[in-house]
């Protein structure tokens, strides 16, 4: 059942390409604004680069996650989905997995223009940079999908989502920036392992909370 739900999410995106394309172009627009509004030396900019990278990601994630749940509002598809005799926790897991895939694909594409347009050097350890980014995405999507599931059927869900999501994501934002900064400056794992553990604990806590509580969240 889980694979069918994930397949449904991927098929919808494959047909419409709404989520990835909107995240991608919004991300590029943010990079443009960053580049034009930060007319400082490369040394200063490279210090801020990890923070800017995650700030951009948080903005595009809000857009993508909101879109991913807004699909379900059309023709009241969500009510039909939850009226099926399936474990509702699996709906959360399917959204989590598909959201993770969408944001990761977007980040892999946007990674190059981010460093190129801001005239920054690519991280020397690009593979590690991207792998840690993937790991952080898992945590972000766990929190984002749970909150998005809650606000989905509210009025002004597009306002409520960032209002509730950003405070909850603040520890991830700190940890993500610290991890990316450490990887870019080639620090050993021992220097940033506590951040890694914070991300891991968020994945476990919000993954379990999302799976267990999603039933209450979506119940009519």
């Amino acid at each position: 059942m889980l694979f069918s739900l994930i397949k449904k999410e991927l098929m919808m995106e494959f047909r419409s390409k709404q989520i990835i394309l909107s995240m991608l172009f919004f991300g590029l627009a943010i990079i443009l604004i960053f580049a034009l509004s930060s007319n400082v030396s490369r040394v200063i900019l490279s210090n801020y680069a990890p923070g800017m990278f995650w700030l951009m990601n948080l903005f595009i994630i809000v857009l993508g996650v909101h879109r991913s749940f807004a699909y379900e509002k059309d023709f009241d598809a969500f009510s039909i989905l939850i009226s099926n005799p399936i474990d509702r926790g699996l709906i959360f897991v399917a959204k989590w997995v598909s959201g993770f895939l969408f944001i990761s694909v977007t980040q892999f594409v946007i990674f190059v223009p981010f460093f190129k347009l801001l005239l920054l050097e690519f991280p020397e350890n690009t593979l590690l940079f991207l792998s840690t980014t993937l790991f952080i995405n898992i945590a972000i999507m766990a929190v984002a999908n749970l909150i998005s599931g809650i606000v989905l059927r509210s009025k002004f869900s597009e306002i409520l989502l960032p209002l509730l999501l950003f405070p909850l994501l603040s520890p991830i934002a700190i940890a993500a920036t610290k991890i990316s900064k450490s990887v870019i400056s080639l620090q050993p794992f021992a220097m940033w392992n506590e951040w890694f553990l914070i991300i891991a604990s968020i994945i476990v806590i919000f993954g379990l909370a999302g799976y267990a509580l999603f039933d209450y969240v979506v119940e009519e």
């Binding site: 749970l146 809650i150 606000v151 059927r153 509210s154 009025k155 002004f156 306002i159 409520l160 209002l163 509730l164 950003f166 405070p167 909850l168 603040s170 520890p171 700190i174 940890a175 610290k178 506590e194 951040w195 914070i198 604990s201 968020i202 806590i205 919000f206 909370a209 509580l213 209450y216 969240v217 119940e219 009519e220």
Partner: protein, 223 residues
């Protein structure tokens, strides 16, 4: 429904809380000793730390009530959660106001990203979203369940927020609560007295707020 203070127990509790609060204020202003390098600024901590304690207690009650609502599906737990959230947020606002007032003369700046203060700010902002979520309306049964989930995940996130802010800038460690425990008995006892008064006041406020929410629910039913 009877008025809240027509109930004798509530009236007695109100009188006790009022007397204790006045005694507490007089004690803080006139009888607690001055600390050499802090002078009057230090006295704000007899209000600041107890406010933080009852604020977090409020949010803890929101989480417990959230669990109870999901398990028992009884509306009274949602009333308790909403009341505790509102009072908790009021005290959190007090923490965010009194913190910078103390910080200016002591740290030389109104704000530093001290872990407890930062955690308070993050929770305060989150609860602003929580209240907006509740007020924007929708299916009331669903809003109750979803608000319960929001209350639960807010509180389970507290240790993570605290740890991440602490690791973020390990040099910022100085916090009055730690210093307070090392103070001489005349300061410590006054502080503990203030803490107790705030806790009793919180209980009274919570009972009163739950009563008001019940009245509102009744009037909504009658419309």
């Amino acid at each position: 429904m009877k008025l809240f203070f027509q109930n004798k127990k509530n009236l007695i509790l109100l009188i006790i809380v009022s007397i204790l609060f006045i005694v507490n204020l007089i004690n803080i202003i006139f009888f607690t000793p001055m600390i050499a390098d802090q002078h009057w600024a230090q006295k704000i901590f007899y209000v600041h730390v107890p406010s933080a304690w009852v604020g977090f207690l409020g949010y803890f009650i929101v989480m417990i009530s959230g669990f109870m609502l999901l398990i028992k599906n009884d509306i009274k737990w949602d009333d308790t959660a909403l009341a505790a959230a509102e009072i908790g947020t009021f005290f959190m606002a007090l923490v965010l106001i009194t913190g910078p007032i103390w910080a200016k003369p002591i740290w030389g700046t109104t704000w530093i990203w001290e872990p407890r203060l930062t955690t308070t700010l993050i929770l305060f902002l989150y609860y602003m979203g929580y209240f907006m979520f509740r007020s924007f309306g929708g299916n009331i049964e669903r809003i109750r369940r979803q608000a319960a989930v929001l209350g639960i995940i807010a509180f389970i996130n507290v240790p993570i927020i605290f740890l991440s802010v602490q690791f973020w800038d390990p040099e910022i460690q100085s916090h009055p609560q730690v210093e307070m425990a090392n103070q001489p008995p005349e300061i410590l006892y006054s502080f503990l007295f203030s803490l107790s008064v705030f806790t009793i006041m919180f209980i009274l406020m919570l009972k009163y707020k739950v009563h008001l929410i019940n009245l509102k629910n009744l009037s909504n039913k009658n419309v």
